[in-house]
Amino acid sequence: MSVVSTANNSLAIRIENLSRHYRMGEALIRAVDGISMQIASGEFVALLGTSGSGKSSLLNLIAGLDHPTSGTVVVKENDLAKFSREELAKYRLHTVGMVFQSFNLIPSMTLLENVELPLRFAEVDRNKRKSLAREALQRVGLIARLRHRPAELSGGEQQRASLARALINQPQFLLADEPTGNLDSQTGTEIMNFIREFNHAFGMTIIMVTHERALAERYASRMIFLADGKLVGDQPNVISATVGQIRGGGL
């Protein structure tokens, strides 16, 4: 409880009556159906639910990759619905970082180029770009793999590279969509430890989509349950908080 309360110092994301419907043939799919919630700065939120529950759709709406059918996502006093496409791109570039289940590195580029890519979009100077990307790759332990292409790396290494890419522009939010879904449990743990470190060390707000309750219980500070596009449960994670406290006390 204490972790939640200390983290809840300022409101980061406010979601109000958010819906995302789309048509698939005759049927109207309510991927997100009237969800309201608030996320504070520094929280580690797990979005839980079975496949088709709308958790990824919700994440995409928060990421500004998708437009809601109705309702609003307000991030740091900014209503995403009022953003132009250009402003949304800037938001994705500077405010959020994303990691995906399938890593989504660009196969034709080396790791260095992949990590450097958001800096290109941000029009960062060439030399600065290279050193920042190196630094980021060093932080995730891939300094020896700069010139490799994603296909030459293991899944864990690829996910670490994609973490480095997500964090290169120093975003306030890390949005992770099943980040360990394609990894064995050991590499999954490795990745999750990195994510937790970003949360603890930099106070970065994490929103992670997962269908593994155990994973959420182990790392998240708060668990939100979705089913059929609706919010069906929202609870602080006592176990993780305790682990955190023990760790904090242990150190």
């Binding site: 995409n60 998708d66 496409r85 791109a89 660009i106 958001p118 290109r120 979009f121 029009e123």
Partner: protein, 464 residues
Amino acid sequence: MKTYDIAELAVRNLRESILRNSLTTVGISVGVASLVAMLSLGIGLQQLAGRRLQKSGLFDTVVVTSRRDLRGFNREQEENGPAPADSPTLNESARQKIAQLPDVLEAYPDIRFITELRYQDRPYLTMVAGLPFSAKNNDAFDGMQGSFFSSDTAPEVILQKSFAAQLLGKTPKTGGEEASVTELAKPLLGKQLTMRYAERTATPEAEINNSSGASQSAGTAYSVLSREATLTIVGVSDLDPDSMRGQARARVFLPLKLAQNLHVMQPSDLRDTTNLTGGTPAYTTVEVHVKSPTQVQPVEDAIKKMGFNTFSIVDATRSLRQFFAVLDLFLGIFGSLALAVASIGIVNTLVMAILERRREIGIMKAIGASDGDVKGLFFAEAGVMGVFGGFVGVALGWIIGRVINLGTNVYLKRQHFPPEQIWFVPWWLVLGAIAFAIVVSLLSGLYPASRAARLDPVQALRYE
């Protein structure tokens, strides 16, 4: 994204599917090449025709005749304006006035007479004409052996090829090959000719009158003396004596000033006696050289206003230019068709690339690429293909034109024609073709680029 980054990414993306993009670029190259080859041939042919016409000297020349001479080229003119009897005489002062008109390079009298020339004690009767010194710079005498007159009054002659053959006793066989100018020139250059001619001299009273500046009624009295002049052969020309060019309608040429100073009896002198026009002798015709064919019409109008008859073939140039404009247009259209096909290739390649790189576009958007970044990237890829295609295409077109030129010359040689440059690639065509290739490529890239930009990242990233 910065422009340099976009270009860099575009090039590396193109290198990723090198085969497909190379083939597309080759498509553009072929289009550009056909455009360049077609137009360079069109321009080459135009220049060839232009050179020929320039040599003929027809299109920048106005022939001026007096209305007193009823044999004007154009009957219609004589219905308007003053009656032939009242119109001015075409004499030295008229020539000077014409020479001072704007855009007139020179105006010189046409002096020609039939006379006897002796070479190695054998007489030859032929047409002799005065040749203005300015003809030296004229490419009409490009094919000449020997040299041009050393001065405008030098006692020298240039012989026409067939007259040279006649002097040497080499009459060309019909259908057979003519002797070359070089062959004819060798034994003749530097040799002497004796010209016998009839000089028109003013009677003493007339001379006094002229020198005192009063030149009214005295000029009609003159006497005719038989004279001889020794002339050195300095050149043998390959001008066609039957061409319409005024200068060429003679077989022996003298420097014009020399011809004038000789005061040879002119056919018009006889008419003067009957017409009783005073003053200096009148010319039959004055040839006026205009700066360019486009200025022929205004000069002609100005001379007509002075009361003379004029003649030029300016209309013929116009229709010829029209013909070449149409030819160039058609050649350009054929060339552009190839480029149009190539542009469809670009559209196809890029649309395929979008399908293939859907996920990549989705990733880029998810990590913060704007619509503009994605659009710029695809646009740049089209542009880079255009640049490469343009350069390679121009080189290819240049080679194709050269090969066609070479082939044509082999053919011409077999048909016993001299080789000709029928192909010409001007700088504006090189630059224009490259620019055109880039513009066409960019236009082709417009649709794929905006389609890529509009791609929904959620759809693009959906797990397969």
